[in-house]
Amino acid sequence: MLASLAWRNLWRQKTRTIISMISMGFASLLLVFMLSLQIGSYDTMKTGTLRLQDGFAQVQPPGYADDPDISNLIEDPAPIIAELKAVEGIAEAAPRAGTFVILANGETSYGAAVLGIAPESEVNVSTLGAALGQGRYLEPGDTDAIYLGETLARNLGLAVGDRVSLLGSGADRSVAADSLEIVGLFRTGVPQIDRQLAQMPLDRFQETFALQGEVNVIALSGKRLADVNRALPELRRIAAAHGLVVRDWAELQPALKQAIALDVSTSAAIYLSLVAVVTFIILNTLYMSVLERTREFGILLALGMKPGAIGRMMWLELILLAALGCASGVALGAPLVLWFQQHGIPVPGMENIMAQFGLPSRIYPSLDPISASAGPLAILASVALGGLVPCLRIRRLHPVSAMRAA
């Protein structure tokens, strides 16, 4: 009975109800869109950054993160790779070995990080091959080949087809030296990578740096970062069985994690302010309604309706109003977000900055259950909670004084 009465009461003041609904609907729509945009941009940032180099997670020897030394090794990686690739959500497991070397061209030399990679699996983990500026990416079967950052090559005064000398120390602390032909140059837009990174075939790397088939890390990828995150417990179990550890995206990119956390906290303040403003507007409307209907409440009390029931009826009116407003916001916001999720939102003039972080020039919002519901639910909860105060005040009404109210 209360629900049906509350529903009808809601439409006594149609204009006021519709205005209240619009304000809550607009706020809900805004929150759905902003949260989706935020989550989408985080996904883009994480995916872009991780795909460029690290992969979505890595299996490493314990302590490798603090001491990324070439002698910190995964022995016999092949069976581990096979196990990892069998885990649901894992699309690829790419073996890598890496160290720091001096790259030289005659008298000119620069320090660089060189990675030994298996091109056939690396292309499924890293987008570095797609950042090709000149020449070609490494291919399976390559032996005498190196793929350099464009800036590094320019600094060395080298181009595609030239040879570059490489000098470092092997896993056995012996001097490791080699000379390789530059087959391609990459341009990621990230200055640090473009001037300090090189990739070479894993077999050649192992030969040059005195490795016996060992690698330093196994980089993992999946269709989406979330798939790999879901697989983490199983990955950790497998890694532990081999005396290894798994580092997730946040451990691989702690700065990115901190940047996101900072952005979440600042944007949360904005969202909470928006929710608070809408709540106050709605509660103000509720207070007006309670004042206007005090006499009516007095009559209901006189007829024998209990004060608590009248309070519950008012609260139900408020909940229905808030639910309608929020639902309309989601109903309008979700298709809008889905459209932009497909087409992206261009960020004019930001292309270069975005590229520096390995990001596309468009931002793609991401509609998920959280982005679709968190904002509207926050409004609903806030209004429901705030509405308890005037509704509880109704319980204190005295029939005679209420009936005397204008």
Partner: protein, 254 residues
């Protein structure tokens, strides 16, 4: 000591069944009723010691000049307000001993109200307004609908059940209010200026209607009114002056 109260005590002493005693005891008994409103530092006496008994089936009017205490007395009897001193016993229950929720229950089941300005729920149809009381009483839907339809038929509103108050005339709205007051089968109907907002024809029709329902159902009516037509139709007329009963006359029925 009032004779009725003394008589009741004697009958209890002789061991008569309580139900029978209740039937014979007055439906409403007010003793030493005082109500003083405090407005800041000023005390405004509204009732100055009212003793009143209403028997079951009374069709009584309560009249008096403005400020004489009619509405205050109706509110006290209806359990809407509490006296500053004195007791109201309704249907054997001393209202002073009842809490807020118990008073609400008592109003719901034993008292019907008719107000000057009808006070129907605007979002409900005539039928739903009448059903509302039965819903509060927890009556099953089928019985509720049947009783509400009968109550509306009793007040001559067949065919208008689906109309909302805004689409009914003042007279029709007050009839719905009477049906609402009676549908819960109360012991007493308290009506405060029930004809004040009605034109002559509607007022006369309403008076006849209430008198007929009183005669047929035996429900007690106490009406606060200035309307001479209502007073003339009543079997009992109580006059209040300055918060005291200045006259109380009973006329032969008819």
């Amino acid at each position: 000591m009032c004779p009725e109260r003394a008589g009741t005590r004697n009958r209890i002493a002789r061991g008569q069944p309580e139900g029978a005693l209740r039937e014979r005891s007055p439906l409403v008994s007010c003793r030493g009723l005082i109500k003083t409103y405090v407005q800041g530092a000023i005390e405004v006496p509204a009732l100055r010691g009212v003793d009143l008994d209403l028997a079951r089936g009374d069709f009584a009017t309560l009249a008096g000049p403005s400020g004489s205490g009619k509405t205050t007395l109706l509110n006290m009897i209806g359990g809407l307000d509490r006296p500053s001193a004195g007791d109201v016993v309704l249907d054997g229950r001393n209202l002073a001993t009842l809490g807020k929720a118990e008073l609400a229950e008592l109003r719901l089941h034993r008292i019907g109200f008719v107000f000057q300005s009808y006070n129907l729920i605007p979002v409900l149809s005539a039928l739903e307004n009448v059903e509302f009381i039965l819903r509060l009483q927890g009556i099953a839907p089928r019985e509720r609908r049947q009783r509400a339809l009968e109550a509306l038929a009793d007040v001559g509103l067949e065919g208008l059940e689906g109309r909302r108050p805004a689409h009914l005339s003042g007279g029709q709205q007050q009839r719905v209010a009477v049906a609402r007051a009676l549908v819960g089968r109360p012991a007493i109907v308290l009506a405060d200026e029930p004809t004040a907002n009605l034109d002559t024809r509607n007022a006369e029709e309403l008076i006849e209607l209430m008198a007929a329902l009183n005669a047929r159902l035996g429900t007690t009516f106490l009406m606060g009114t200035h309307d001479a037509r209502v007073i003339a139709r009543a079997q009992r007329h109580i006059e209040l002056t300055d918060g005291r009963i200045s006259s109380d006359e009973t006329r032969p029925a008819g």
